[in-house]
Amino acid sequence: MERRDFFKKSLAAAGAVSLAGSLEAATTGQPIDGRKVSKISFPEKRALITYSDRPPLLESPRSTFSSVLTPNDEFFVRWHMPEIPTYIDTEAFRINVSGLVNKDLSVSLKDLKADYEQVTVTAVLQCGGNSRSAFTPTAGGIQWGSGAMGNATWKGVRLRDILERAGLKKDAEWIGFNGMDNAAYYETPSFIRELHLDELDDHVIVAYEMNGEDLPYLNGYPVRLVIPGTYSDSWVKMLSKIVVTNEYQKLFFMDVAYRIPDNECECETPEKKFPKTKPITKMNVKSFIGYPTNETVVHNNSHIVVRGVAFDDGTGITGVKISTDAGKTWQDAILDNGELGRYSYRGFRHTFKPNQQGKVTIMSKAINRAGEEQPFAADVPWNHGGYKFNGIDAVTVDVI
């Protein structure tokens, strides 16, 4: 018996070697869906899916995504450090700008609202690890479903206008951003992000308002960085410090976390990580169905209006297609008029009338101006951090 097992094992090993050293096939599928919201709600939030209280990690349920603008109290939450200031003195709060500038600035909330041009942008905020639970073997990190994203209209001031007020010195090259959240230990590095000057355009703003209200504390009150089109890891919350330098500072959250293989497919195998990595930065094309959900029961021959959202990095969504036959045929969904701009969700809707009892799966696929479209979930390549999943969404409803 033992011998036979041994024989089997060595056969398996031999087989694996012939498969270019892959011992376990890396696969992707639909992310975990339908997790229940917590019984306990967090400040200024409805009850959401709760992975952790310290630091707070909250995910929106699928039903949130039938609206184009995500309500503030349903908006996902992701912090890296356990100590979040729970009180902000709005009179005393300042954003300090220093480093390679002609004049250090100390900008109050009042200054921000009165002394600068006020601008708004509607933009999607999505965690790079959103949908991570789609990856097998399990990728490292919180096993998010697909609700680590949201879309809001942000109001604030252009970062460029603030930097211009300070006056950048000739050799200025990197801008570092730090928020007010703290680690439990003094020695722990801060969650600092650095952006190269070339990455900053007029769409990058320091926002103090979200969907016409103050930012919720857990989304970065009183101000956060908004970088439309990019994943949320650089959208620093409770932004209090901007430092201009001429040299890139080595930072854990920039150099180790939030990175993907730097190759064409952005992929690798579990056994052999690709040695060269790059930051996740720009978001890829994605759609998600808000209604119906996997728990929905509908009557045969009734009209269902499928609703959801689609987005990319601002290139521009040009269509969303719906399939109810496992992707064999596709029909165009109706897109909203796009008046919220290219960084916003485009809402889509599609009327579907089931004509047979039993389970039916509805799929959505977004396409953008560059001709990029979502792959089937199983065709999304694997990466060890479980970043950038954008597989075609699928919900299965019960027709009775």
Partner: protein, 100 residues
Amino acid sequence: MKKILLLSILAVSALFAQVKEPIEVPYISYEIKMGEGFGAVQANCLTCHSFGYITNQGKQSRAFWKGKVVKMVDHFKAPITDEDSEIVTNYLSEHYGNGK
């Protein structure tokens, strides 16, 4: 006139937080498996993050958990002794491992 007055009140109040006193982040008790080494997990991990942060990483290999403990020490400067690092790694791969 009334409308203008109302508008200006709104404009002023926008300078103040919706929440005027400290918020309180609720404490959630996450289920975690009991077993050998749990004491070290409680003493070393809970200072910085919840048990939810651990259990919601999914089932992972011993190498993964070891890497996480090393990351906490090297990058996050958590003062975990070598002995405790070993105990915590053993506990995690025993209870939240994938058999590898």
